[in-house]
């Protein structure tokens, strides 16, 4: 053994392959990026396009005297959608309200009807049924709870 500060070199004989395995370090992964449904820009854009088409629906759009949609309501729903962790589906109702819904399975889903005067939620979470009026800032939690 030499006292030199030079690094020790090991010369491999020709024709011998050297394979080295490097153990991968464990990274703390964020659920934000593991769940492809969460913070989906594509789904938000799709919902905004649908909202724009709902805004343009004419009276009797559904064949049953369906009402037109108030511009302020459209803006309210757009703001709600922009703040959600998980994008729901949205559907117009014949009474001029917009339904926001997320369905995981029959024991876990939520339907939220947003109208000019109130927001009414029907949620089933782990089989437990709840129907109540809510405020706009409760919507994100109601939907996110389905993924808890």
């Amino acid at each position: 053994m030499s006292n030199s500060t030079q690094s020790v070199r090991f010369l491999m004989p020709p024709g011998i392959e050297c394979h080295v395995t490097i153990a991968a370090p464990e990274f703390q992964s964020s659920t934000r990026f593991n769940n492809s449904e969460r913070f989906s820009l594509e789904q938000l854009k799709s919902n905004k396009r649908k909202l724009a088409s709902i805004k343009n629906l004419m009276p009797n759009w559904n064949g049953y005297e369906g009402e037109r949609f108030d511009e302020e309501l459209i803006t309210t729903v757009e703001n709600i959608l922009s703040d959600l962790d998980y994008q729901p589906q949205i559907f117009p109702t014949g009474r001029g309200s917009i339904q926001i819904e997320k369905h995981i399975d029959e024991d876990n889903f939520v339907e939220i009807e947003v109208s000019q005067n109130e927001i009414f939620a029907y949620q089933v979470n782990n089989g437990v049924e709840i129907e109540k009026k809510i405020s706009a800032n409760e919507i994100n939690n109601l939907i996110s709870d389905l993924y808890a």
Binding site: Y64, Q99, F120, Y122
Partner: protein, 124 residues
């Protein structure tokens, strides 16, 4: 034109409703329960002893619906909703589903449960 229909919708009669594409839930391949939310009672056509094909054709003649679904009157009543026969000038089969005797508009679980009990009989 049909013979005069009974004022009471028979339990075995089906109630038909047209669905436009905006209310079609492609993720779950069914109509949204928003289909059954209306301000004036959910309009449906009672079958009045017509065939399913005639019921669908009659509806599609009024509007080019994306889909048509039906639900049995008995089922609607079991879900505590009220089917009412309310003929109008252009539609002798016109009926409505109300929430209860006291309230017309349905909300919450009832529209969803009626949607779940419905069968899609026509789909583009």
């Amino acid at each position: 034109m049909p013979n005069k229909l009974s004022l009471i919708i028979d339990d075995e009669e089906f109630l038909y409703r047209g669905i436009i594409e905006h209310n079609w839930d492609y993720e779950n391949n069914r109509p949204s329960s928003a289909t059954y939310k209306d301000s004036k009672g959910v309009s449906v056509d009672r079958d009045g002893q017509r065939t399913e094909k005639k019921c669908i054709t009659f509806l599609k003649n009024s509007k080019d619906f994306f889909a048509v679904c039906k639900v049995m009157t008995k089922t609607v009543k079991e879900l505590n909703a009220i089917p009412k026969y309310l003929p109008i000038e252009d539609n002798p089969y016109h009926s409505e589903i109300h929430d209860s005797a006291e309230r017309i508009q349905m909300r919450g679980s009832k529209p969803k449960k009626i949607r779940d009990a419905s069968v899609v009989v026509f789909n583009k």
